[in-house]
Each structure stands twice: as C-alpha cells, then as structure tokens.
C-alpha cells in the first residue's frame, strides 16, 4: 500500500511548479490565439502536456486521485457542447455560426467577437480530452501481467 509511485521527490517538486507554468502557458496561448500564433487547439494540447508531466512524475495512481477520468470526459463533452452552443447562438443573430458579437478593436484581447470564446471552448475540450486519454492509457495494464 505504501509502495512509492512516480519519481523522486525532487522531480515531484519541480513537476509541481512546472505543471502550473505549463498550464498557464497553455491558457495564455489559447486566449491570445486571435492576436498571435497559437490558438485553442495548441493551448489545449499544452494543457494536456501538463497532465502528462503530472502522470509521469507522480505515477498514474496518484494522478487519478487528483483528476478523475470521468471528470475529463465531462469537461471534454462540455467544451464540445460549448463550442456547439456558440454556433447555435448564431441563430439569435439569424444564422448558424453567425459571429454576431462586435468585432471590437483589432489587436486587443477583447476583439474578434466570439473568437476568444471559441478558443476557450476548444482549449477546455482538447485539454480535458487528451488528459483523459493519457490517464486511461497510463492506468491501462496488459491483462496477462495481472495473472
């Protein structure tokens, strides 16, 4: 029960710090997607990379206590649903996928109408989805080894 999982204490502590930075960077990349290179998808993958680091450093058991796979599913679906909802909101303005928000001042964070929102939805979707796959894969053991 007390079997040590994951890597050494140094790695774990560094990983704790770095994971936070990576996650913040992923969110930053996604939110500034309409201004600079990047976008929701790249941000989401970076977010998932933070989860990968966590799984590698702490082992799958400890990570799964922190983040449950079912939560990943739910957030994954919620992100997708959010993006679809943005699309359907277009009907308020008259048509599917209508970007009816004002474009705003090009170059500022709040510009591009719904583009930042879409990026956010994709960030949540991709990040949660890929993190979930990693958790599932890290927990997967060949059944023959259990015998």
């Amino acid at each position: 029960m007390m079997k040590k999982t994951g890597m050494t204490l140094i790695v774990k502590n560094v990983a704790k710090l770095v994971t936070a930075f990576i996650a913040v960077f992923g969110i930053y990349i996604a939110l500034t997607g309409h201004l600079a290179p990047g976008g929701g998808f790249a941000g989401g993958v970076i977010l998932a990379a933070a989860a990968v680091l966590m799984v590698l450093a702490f082992g799958s058991g400890a990570s799964r206590k922190l983040v449950k796979e079912s939560q990943c599913h739910t957030w994954d679906a919620a992100g997708a649903l959010g993006f679809l909802a943005i699309a359907l909101c277009g009907y308020i303005g008259g048509s599917f996928f209508l970007n009816f928000l004002a474009p705003g001042d090009a170059g500022t964070l709040v510009s591009g109408g719904w583009i930042p929102l879409s990026n956010l939805a994709i960030l949540v979707k991709v990040g949660a989805g890929l993190a979930g796959v990693f958790l599932a894969l890290s927990a997967f053991r060949l059944s023959r080894s259990e015998e």
């Binding site: 309409h34 290179p37 591009g112 583009i115």
Partner: protein, 196 residues
Amino acid sequence: MGVEVLVLILIVFMFIGSLIATESGDLLSSVIAIGAVGFGLSIIDLLLRAPDLAITQVVVEVIALVLLIRLVLTRREESTDTPRDALRIGVVLLAAGVLLVAIFLAVGGVETGAGMPTFGEPVLAGSRTENGVPPGVAMDYLERSTEETGARNAVMGVLLDYRAYDTLGEATVIFVSILGAYALLRKVGRRKEVSQ
C-alpha cells in the same frame, strides 16, 4: 532563394528521417526518428511563415511521441525483424514508379500552365491570371479578415469565423477519437453470460 534551399535541405532531412524510421530494426529508434521528422516539419512551417502551424506541430508532436513511446514500451520481448515479401514490394515499387511519372508530368507541366503552380507563386499571387484563374479566396481573407472578424491573426479569422464550421468538425474529430480510444480500452467489451 535562401528559404527554398533551407526548405529543400529540411525535406531531404525529413526524407532520410522517415527512411530510418521505416527501416530501423529497433522500434524505439523508429519512433524517435519519426519524431525528428515531425520537428523538421515544424521548422519548415516556421520558414514558410506559418507560425501557428509550427507551434501546433511541435506540441502535437510531443504528445504523439509520448503516445508512441507508450506503445513501444508495451512490448516485453524483442520482436523479430519483419520478413520482407518480395512480391508485395515489387508491386509497390511498380505502382510507385507509375505514380512518380504521373506526378512528374503534373509538376513538370509548369511551362504549359497545365501543371501545378510553381513553388512560391501560388494562385493567390496571380500566377494563373492569364489563364483565367483569378487569385481565389485567399486574397479576400487577407484583405478583409482583420476588419470583418476583428482577429489580426488571419489564420484564426479563417479557422474560427469564416470557416468555423470546419472547426466544429475538427473539435468533433478529436472528441470522436478520444471517445473511440475509451471504447477500445474497455477490458470487457461483451458480457459473457447468455441472455435469458
């Protein structure tokens, strides 16, 4: 000129990397070689002025490599080198030869205007105007994206506004494959007991 030379060198590098990945006897080296190919592609993206792609390619490459290494490490015993099947390879080479000729015709027909546009002179730049092919939609995106969508990054403008519906498809693709991965990771797909 400089960019083209660099791109050519990088493509040669990618080709060699792919060849190593294909022919290497050790699976882990294969996977790492293909990772190098991916990073080569992301540098090409950078050289060809596609920073969005470069970033995405790098992060995706990292994730794909982790996945592939996870796959290779699954294996317990060293797998034997795969035997070659002469007939199969012969067929492939033949088909490849025929295709190469066709491709050469297509790319080489530049002078007559019947082939692909010359590298570096896309339809966007008006290379086909005299044949009656106008610059296409790309010009409109560049001219109007900032004004109409408010996104300075024209790629994001295209991706999330002009062609947002594609992006819905893209989000769905990743959703589907993740869901599919979960579905295939189930230990027990079918309950064994007979109904009734």
